[in-house]
Amino acid sequence: MDVTFTAEQDALRAAVRDLLADRCGIDHVRDVMESETGADLDLYRRLVEVGAAELPGALELGIVLEECGRAVAPTPAVSALGIAVPALEAAGADELLAAARGGEAIPVMALDPDHVVEGHVATHLLFVEGGELIAAEAAQCEIAPLATMDLTRRMARVRRNGGSAVGDAVAALRAVERTGTVAVSHELVGVGQIALERGLAHAKGREQFGKPIGTYQAVSHRLVDSFIAVECARSLAYYAAWAIDADTPDADLAASQAKASAAEGAVLAARHVLQVHGGIGMTWEADLHLFLKRAHSGAALLGTASQHRRRIADLIGV
């Protein structure tokens, strides 16, 4: 047993973290939030350039997306790199996969055509029809952007008028269910982490009754609860990514565990940290709502915590 990262994995994390520190500070996220699409496709391409579309396994994908979550990066990384690329790979859709890996194509899955995450910035939309994975170019679709709570990860309603079969839908769905679910979980871990870090900074600096508010246990214990929730989610996300890469018999269970825990952990941390900020936490100009909204948009993606709990009950044979 050795549950630590390799030097290569540490280097990958550092490369993504450096890129995001350089290109995706919170002011930039806010600028993109106010933009027409809410997505920074240049930053997305930079992620592709550091190899984020061609990673050796689910664990490396998790490392990249955890960092993206920690930066609340407004890119289609989760939808395209975390969900669609593994689906294309599993389906054997080599041509589109190559285009996605080169950064020319930004594919997203249209699993629920009424709620297609990042559907408005995708170049290709992937549909499951019968046993086939159908790819349609954006120009072959009617795409209606939707108003979303999370302005840094939006959705669209999509109807396709053309497109063609590119591979096996069963394999694609299986990849979504496993790798995709765990990818979303990792992003949520990152969101919970940044929320916690902001909460700690505030609790150390903000004074009331003549002392930093982190002195008070009612405040500090909320932050400890957030820390525990995020660390539990992190553990289950790492385990699930490893289980997928090692193809263990409990990989499906591990994926659902990761998602249920990450959804709850990120939302809990974001809520606690907003509370710890008091009134400022309710303002548009403070960043707390970005974390809370991203936590919810991740929590709703590929199955809610409650849906995954029901799946866990099935899988453990209750």
Binding site: M1, V224, R309
Partner: protein, 389 residues
């Protein structure tokens, strides 16, 4: 990253399993709950089991060979604890000795002390208890008032300790005393090894809410402790006590997650017996327990990996908090599911097992650091928040 046993670890695990199978009483592994409920029976069994462990060379597994241990790695110790918990093996009777007094003596003791105390500690011939808490010093350990005054080559001890598990069985007590009432709170403490057979020591059992007499009050009235029975130097008591607590909260916790796994399996079985396994609310609740039990297992593995590489991370500090919460909630949920039957301790489902689990569970968030104290420790030492006092 690999969560599986290495070939050597797998071999060691196999060895442990084979030994347990061979040495546990006949039928033990097939019984749904083999541990006796009668405290006297339990004590007898646990004394016997400690002896078995000692003779098999499993007591003090990770201790240095020169002191009767095996010099096993930390991961081997964890594997042993996991397998023992999975087999629901009895707890060795000298749990305070094995996990707290022993490691502290190995760390702080003189060669003479190690030779005197460690062997009978491992064999269970001499049982140990812990004299830390007092009526006026619970979470605030540095407030202890039990006085030790040096007179010639003895310390004369006066005061009272409380919540002393195994005090009624123990020969020795790891005792935190105040030797210098004028020094700063943490500086005036001294750590002694006190003989419980001294005529100045009186033990009064306290019956717990489970009905078991697991812990005691211990009174010291001019009890005499030879000066050579000091661990560390006079005034080192706080530092030595921290070594003890580090061990209490450290290595011991690695077996706890398996206890939770066993409880969850039993709870799942109960749900089936009650015909509630298709109830969506019940299923979601059990899935929630599964999340906590698995998070605990994996978090422990992360912590252990970092420890083995010499870089302890923050993960270890939260294990006990996650464990006590899930263990308590499972007990609470069983009582809730059982309804009126949950009030019956003999004729109900489980013969009182669930009531015991529930009641004993209330203590999990109090013993070895209350929830609140452990959260303070994480807030201050892991998260870097300002001290709350």
């Amino acid at each position: 990253m690999d969560f599986r046993d290495s070939p050597q670890e797998a071999e060691f695990r196999g060895e442990v399993r084979a030994w347990l199978r061979e040495h546990l009483p006949a039928g033990w592994l097939d019984s749904p709950d083999p541990r006796p409920t009668d405290p006297k029976e339990g004590e007898k069994l646990r004394r016997w089991w400690q002896r078995e462990l000692f003779e098999g060379g499993w007591a003090g597994l990770a201790w240095p060979k020169e002191y009767g241990g095996r010099g096993a790695t930390l991961v081997e110790q964890v594997i042993f604890n996991e397998e023992a918990a999975r087999a629901r093996a009895p707890e060795p009777i000298n749990i305070i000795g094995l996990y707290m007094a022993g490691p502290t003596i190995i760390h702080w003791g003189t060669e003479e002390q190690k030779r005197r105390y460690l062997q009978p500690l491992l064999s269970g011939e001499e049982i140990w208890c812990q004299g830390f808490s007092e009526p006026g010093a619970g979470s605030d350990l540095a407030a202890v008032r039990t006085r030790a005054v040096r007179e010639g080559d003895h310390y004369i001890v006066n005061g009272q300790k409380v919540w002393t598990s195994y005090g009624h069985l123990a020969r020795w007590c790891i005792l935190v005393t105040r030797t210098d009432p004028d020094a700063a709170q943490h500086a005036g403490l001294t750590y002694l090894l006190a003989d419980m057979e001294d005529p100045g020591v009186t033990v009064r059992p306290l019956v717990q809410i489970t009905g078991d007499p697991e812990f005691n009050e211990v009174f010291f009235d001019d009890a005499r402790v030879p000066a050579e029975n000091i661990l560390g130097q006079e005034g080192d008591g706080w530092k030595v006590a921290m070594t003890t607590l580090m061990h209490e909260r450290g290595t011991m916790s690695f077996g706890l997650q398996v206890m939770s796994r066993v409880t969850l399996d039993q709870l799942t079985e109960l749900v089936r017996k009650l015909g509630r396994d298709q109830d969506p609310a019940v299923r979601e609740t059990l899935a929630g327990f599964q999340l906590d039990v698995e998070a605990l297992r994996v978090t422990n593995m992360r912590a252990l990996s970092k420890l083995m590489k010499g870089a302890p991370g923050p993960e270890g500090s939260m294990s006990k908090l996650v464990w006590e919460r899930v263990q308590q909630r499972m007990g609470e949920y069983a009582i809730e599911l059982l309804g009126a039957d949950g009030q019956l301790t003999e004729d109900g489902l489980g013969d009182g097992r669930w009531q015991y689990l529930y009641l004993r569970g209330r203590g999990h968030s109090i013993e070895a650091g209350t929830t609140e104290i452990l959260k303070n420790i994480i807030a201050e030492r892991v998260l870097g928040l300002p001290r709350s006092r």
